[in-house]
């Protein structure tokens, strides 16, 4: 079982790192972090905070883009190119395939996150800004956010085209950061339809703002370890649920 999942996962990893999309996003991500230096004069004495905040934000954004763009094509591409016939003709169970694809993409994201983090710290050293290891907490939370976003991408990838999957996943990511507003909307709206709709979305969509602790780490504020652990657990449970639904859909698929 583990052997077969890791065969699918390592193939997914290899496919992604030989794909130009990933390389383009990585290069672009590092460039954006470097460009923070350009806007420094606008920051009026808060340079180091702006550069750090922008750097951490671009790492998150580009990793999410990788999850969305690479993840959206994950399952669909295998069906479209009919490589799926070869994989599923082997003694690979369908759930092992879905899990392998997910694990492979999570490995790609870990590698991307590490590469961009190294780039980020190098930029900070080069510009003489202090670079505390403390900021890594924020990047760890980003990885847990990716645990959720990738599961969303895999879910969509099992039943819609790559473009639709990318759009839906990115929309989920954006709205996932606004879920508190959704609850507010539910509380304030007089219309029962809007109330019900936003309440439904609030409960169904992932609450991604929990994973954003950039403000705290940039301002050297104290972190709440319990809240962080809770967020991490939330990510794992949420992703596991989505993967279960993905497996359910994928197992019923007729090729």
């Amino acid at each position: 079982m583990i052997g077969r999942i890791s065969a699918v996962a390592s193939n997914t990893f290899r496919e992604a790192i030989r794909d130009k999309v990933l390389l383009t996003l990585l290069v672009f991500g590092v460039l954006v972090m470097g460009s923070a230096k350009v806007i420094q004069p606008l920051a009026l004495g808060e340079e180091s905070k702006v550069v750090k905040d922008l750097g951490l934000a671009s790492i998150t954004l580009f990793c999410v883009l990788i999850a969305v763009l690479v993840g959206g094509r994950l399952v669909y591409k295998e069906v479209e190119k009919r490589t799926i016939y070869i994989v599923l003709a082997k003694p690979v169970r369908r759930w092992e395939f879905v899990l392998g694809k997910y694990a492979g993409l999570m490995a790609v994201l870990l590698a991307s996150l590490v590469i961009m983090t190294v780039g980020f710290y190098l930029i900070l050293f080069a510009t003489g800004i202090d670079a505390p290891a403390y900021m890594l907490w924020s990047l760890l939370m980003t990885y847990f956010e990716l645990v959720v976003v990738t599961a969303v991408a895999v879910l969509f990838s099992t039943f819609v085209t790559p473009i639709a999957s990318a759009v839906f996943t990115f929309a989920t990511y954006v709205v996932g950061h606004l879920t508190r507003d959704l609850r507010l909307l539910a509380a304030m709206s007089p219309s029962p339809i809007v109330k019900g709709g936003s309440q439904f979305l609030y409960y169904v969509l992932p609450n991604l703002s929990n994973f954003n602790i950039r403000g705290e780490v940039v301002h050297n504020a104290l972190l709440n370890p319990q809240a962080l652990a809770l967020s991490a657990m939330y990510a794992v449970v949420y992703a596991a649920t989505l993967l279960l639904i993905s497996v359910f859909i994928f197992s019923r698929k007729d090729f």
Partner: protein, 329 residues
């Protein structure tokens, strides 16, 4: 884990697959109450025109698709199970591979997916690259491979787990005459090792050379199963006679005896129904005397092609079924 001695390797009972497609969900019957038994150790050729339901049946046998009704079993079990798949090798029709992988990496992946580990993987990869004569390209990315090379990689991945049953969908597609010969040799060698081979094709010469039995499927129905010699009677359908040096008067008489005739200079090609008509031709030629002589005499037997042409209906119905076969999503 062995099946009872007499149990067929592949068994289908009234297997039916209906696809619904298009805006109005028009239904297309790709397989229609198909019964089939394949015994251990035979090479079975599954013949039919494009869109007859060959790929649909194979997808069901590989657990990629579910039947609408009826049953299919492989080694007496549901084809969807992983246990069955570990005993089967499969080559899809015009297979696509991961073109960013090298030939060796692809076979390593296939071995890993089959549950192999460590030394076993390296050993199988070497063995199969050699078998399909692709050792020279082991470290080349598959994106640069020709159709024939891809087909070789396809058979290599199908045989990676040394399967007891090999299912091949149009295995000869894209191969040149040398490649086809090698492929036939591989298939025959598999039988010699006691393996069962089931392959679909619409190329008749493949079947005539290597199959023990054939099944002919048309519009989702099995119209004939048996030895090729049973399906195609040995009976002579007509006799082709080539004659040279016949003059105008006798030529007209000869043409009247023949079913068809073609003139070319002073030569004449006649097609006569049977031996008594042939005797008439001989008699006329004796009477004509002079330069008139028979150049050749060829009895015409029924070919698979004739069989096909006689059984296959209009092209419209076949195309409708054929299109459905490739709608994956």
């Amino acid at each position: 884990m062995s099946s009872p001695v007499n149990e067929p390797v592949i068994n289908t009972f009234r297997l039916t697959k209906v696809y619904r497609s298009g805006f109005r969900l028009k239904s297309v019957r790709a397989l229609d109450s198909l019964d089939l038994q394949i015994e251990k150790g035979e090479i079975f050729g599954f013949l039919g025109p494009n869109g007859a339901g060959k790929t649909t049946l194979i997808k069901i046998l590989m657990g990629l698709s579910k039947p609408t009704s009826g049953e299919a079993s492989v080694f007496g079990e549901s084809p969807r199970g992983a246990r069955v798949k570990s005993r089967v090798g499969f080559l899809p029709e015009s297979p696509y591979f991961y073109d960013y992988l090298t030939a060796a990496e692809f076979l390593k992946l296939s071995a890993g997916l089959s549950g192999m580990r460590g030394q076993e993987v390296a050993h199988s990869v070497r063995r199969l690259l050699k078998l399909v004569r692709m050792e020279h390209a082991a470290n080349d990315q598959m994106r640069g491979f020709s159709r024939g090379m891809l087909q070789r990689m396809g058979i290599a991945q199908a045989l990676i787990n040394d399967p007891e049953l090999v299912i091949l969908d149009e295995p000869m597609g894209g191969l040149d005459p040398v490649g086809r010969k090698e492929f036939r040799d591989i298939i025959v060698a598999l039988r010699e090792r006691g393996k069962t081979v089931f392959f679909s094709t619409h190329i008749l010469t493949d079947v005539e050379m290597i199959c023990d039995r054939v099944g002919i499927v048309i519009s989702g129905k099995m119209v004939d199963v048996g030895r090729l010699s049973e399906i195609l009677t040995e009976e002579v359908e007509s006799i082709e006679v080539a004659i040279a040096g016949v003059s105008g008067k006798f030529r007209k008489v000869l043409e009247r005896v023949a079913r068809h005739s073609i003139r070319s200079g002073d030569s004449l090609l006649l097609s006569v129904r049977n031996e008594s008509d042939l005797d008439k031709v001989m008699a006329i030629l004796r009477e004509a005397g002079g330069d008139a002589r028979i150049k050749s005499l060829v009895p015409q037997r029924k070919t698979l092609e004739d069989y096909f042409m006689a059984h296959v209906g209009g092209p419209a119905s076949r195309d409708a079924a054929g299109r459905r076969n490739h709608d994956g999503y």
